[in-house]
Symmetry: D4
Subunit: 166 residues, 8 copies
């Protein structure tokens, strides 16, 4: 009697510091959807839920994640703290903050000390979309079909640029 | 038969992200020495020793600490992460960083989201000295003798300012 | 014949540079309300009412205050000047300014010279809320009941964070 | 029996936050020397000697000062606080600070709220020299001889610029 | 047959780089109106009307001006260029610019080289109002009645600050 | 008769804009050496050798590279332009520049528009070392042995942090 | 039998990174229209259409262009990359970006290394208009009629500045 | 009887605000030397020699100049003021300043209002060298031989870039 195959865990985790980051981070999710990459989106606040942070970061590999996208704003500690507790590649998205427009978020994420890397993308929605793309690029180093989908996306993107402004 | 009194834990913890922060953070220690406040100085790297971070922050109250001074540079996550795991007052010192002169350290420490405060001092040695002073001021809310020593320090400081430049 | 007990002075003073800072500083008041800490909120302009500044800062201890929260914007001198005239712990809130979004307020408050500390919080409403929290944390070093309320607040805050964005 | 004439008070006060500001502020003194304007140079720390600050600022007019030059670095509150307690014109010199190169000093001095002006000069020695010049220009509105000396200085300055680099 | 007295020239010139600076610079005019100081407001564009700039700056003393207030935004050259062609005191107002919120205006005005001073006020309307106040303070060094009006203004300003926020 | 196995291409390319970037980028090379990951280091100037740039970026996949590390300073276009011509993951290292300390390098690299991602690391040597680490983390998503070496590196790094400053 | 004269290619190319830059870059087009200088406006995305970039930049001289205006925002690589592949003069316009208001665009365009120049104009619409003017000024070095039109434009511009604000 | 040909005026003027700018601006001169373009280098201080500024800018066309390179630091008004008085193309070089590393110079030069363009190069020596290159590129729009020399320079520059770091 055959058993159903074990469900395959999604390879990408999208974590964010609060519900208010979701409008930005949805851009990462939408990009992964477009490229056919499964993901799991969660709220993990480094400051308000430190236990959840530790559990998530330490358990990420066992959950089957291959790449982690982490978005946060202001004193944005989530990406770096996740990176401190996993060897998986971590991508950081600086969410645009109210007073400083994400300059604080960017510096808090990108200026990591030697030893614990966070691959940081642009401030805001462009950065979130690109985190999805970079996660797919990372996965495509071991997934030829995804690499093809990525190339197709890129070719279509190039083709979609009009020759002249209107 | 009388027992020896239990040793009293120092009320202030000084933690820093790396050995290289010590020349800055020694200014906090020196200020506490001057005011007769005991402290314990440790290296706790949010990024390189996250387990030590969790153990320290969660155990700080039980160890008997009343105030925590945390110094770090660059993407300085130590003060905010300690604050996320204790209700004790946490004071943050932005250590001057190489490329950005501590602007990254300052924003990473001070721009905490509502819910988890870090009382942030100035970049570098002045900030470290003032963290010592502010820790003493906090402790003096419940220690009249310390309050007197603090007032004396302040009076002597005022008196030491020359009337004219030379 | 028994006398009525002397009224207990509120332990926290909230001072601000102008009426226009109140929408921000109310967040500190609201947090103290939530934690059951009494406070007195006043307008003290370092620039327009220097005599009031001196009277307030020099008299703060005698009034019974234990912690002072001071908010101001632009060339924000109020927190530092209050700190120069009292040994009580002073917490500074940089109010978001019009042209520079509070970058001027932040630097004017946080970059105090060695000798006179101001524990600085984030720019704007998050910083004001956190000033309330930090004031409570400071008071809780000598008030076990307040410490319990603070822990409860923190636990509820953690519990209120949804697992997933929606 | 004739009395000796009362000594004439110098019209310019140069105050600075600490001895370490003197190498910068000497440039103001040197410029006033060159233009034949008397001055008195003092250390008045807004933070470490607030009583001296109040006494100086409130007494400046009675001492006979006409213009006040105030230099300070970091969270530079001296110029604005002096201005808050006198109606005399106050000129501010942002001293170059260690970590932020005087960006903090500049914003702390120049971003005064409506109602209390500080005429701010450039960061560092150029600003100090120009504070001397501007003080002289202010005094020359009521002193034709000084106006002539100022014009001569300006003409000589123009004449001293070589036609070609060498 | 008696002649009418020669009209007295206003002592303050308010010049600005363009019509679009007037909403800001009106605050200077309003302050001078309040203090009973006459002024003349003109558009002088350093870049679009350099001849007018030269004529104005070189002729300012002969026109009877005692103090010049100059406001401009972006690469704000008007205050410094006026100052280069007159020994009269020049006050600069950095008008808030579109992209950089007046940071460009501020640095373009305040960072003058040694030899040609511009007393710079805050970015935007507060700075314009304070330029009016500082011009009055400068004039009051030789006008006791104006000094009294200025003191009254200051006293009323202090008195108008409410004790508590509402 | 058996043939020798085809040489395996190194999986990581390290490219930099000029020889002067090598002292920084050597930190990436050293990290890859430590982790046993082969790499090829080349100078590819986006501005001075645009043909080399195109040839490299378009040929990178065919050469067998899996991840590209690109370092540049100032108007740092190399990482983004490489990314525009390959779907491989590109990591960017902002080299510290002379006048602006790498702030220009950082913004030029990280602020990529949606569609073309560059995973950006910290300014300078820490960023270069972390680019090596992140490249290894990316490769380890398909290389269990490398993942083990990475975990060992991380464990040793944690263990090497002294408990107390000295 | 006479042939029709070969159409003369427009001397100015206006290229921009995306359709969203056109509202800004139209200001360059409008200025060239006003001065009677023909141009061709195209979308050339350095990141999304690198092949188009190479074809445009390398073919620009052969197409008959004399001056190239390139506008882009964020990590704005278009002006510098065009300049890397042509010896024609390239003028760069930093388009105002969402999070950082064009500070990223400005630094990405202006901070070119020695060897490949981009003449950079102001952020946003003023910069675009001025790129049109500067392109005309460049062309007028070899076109006396255009020089006259430019002088007329400048004279009319000066004449249009009102004497007084209203 | 043949007359000697009239001497040809150099096509490029290099002006700078002070002798101290020459070490930077020499890089422009050196580049023009290398490309065989004659120039005249002069000191013209916008602030200290405004008459010289007016005379130079208004007379530049008559002197035979085709392109003007202007370098200055701090509140750098020279490039913009020259541009206000000539229709010739003006290139601006922000000289690195002491306190703000040329950020003030850059913004003072590049943020010109619509109507008066300055083509701005990078801060410091790279910008000066590129001003020389851009001036040559501008002249080469009407000088085929210079265009060839420029292409040769560019080809040699490309060829001089080593393949690998050493």
């Amino acid at each position: 009697m055959s058993e159903a195959p074990a469900p395959v865990a999604p390879p990408v985790a999208i974590v964010m510091g609060s519900q208010s980051d979701w409008p930005t981070m949805q851009r990462a999710a939408a990009m992964l959807d477009k490229l056919g990459v499964a993901y799991d989106a969660r709220i993990v606040s480094a400051h308000r839920t430190p236990d959840r942070l530790v559990a998530f970061a330490k358990g990420a590999e066992a959950e089957g994640f291959k790449v982690i996208i982490a978005g946060a704003g202001g004193a944005a500690h989530l990406p770096g703290m996740v990176a401190s507790m996993t060897h998986l590649p971590v991508l950081g998205v600086p969410v645009q903050s109210k007073a400083l427009s994400g300059q604080d978020s960017l510096l808090s994420i990108v200026q990591m000390p030697a030893g614990i890397p966070v691959g940081t993308l642009a401030i805001g929605e462009a950065g979130a979309a690109n985190a999805g793309l970079l996660a797919a690029a990372i996965l495509s180093t071991g997934d030829a079909e995804l690499a093809e989908r990525l190339k197709t996306f890129r070719a279509e993107q190039s083709a979609s640029v009009a020759e002249r402004p209107s």
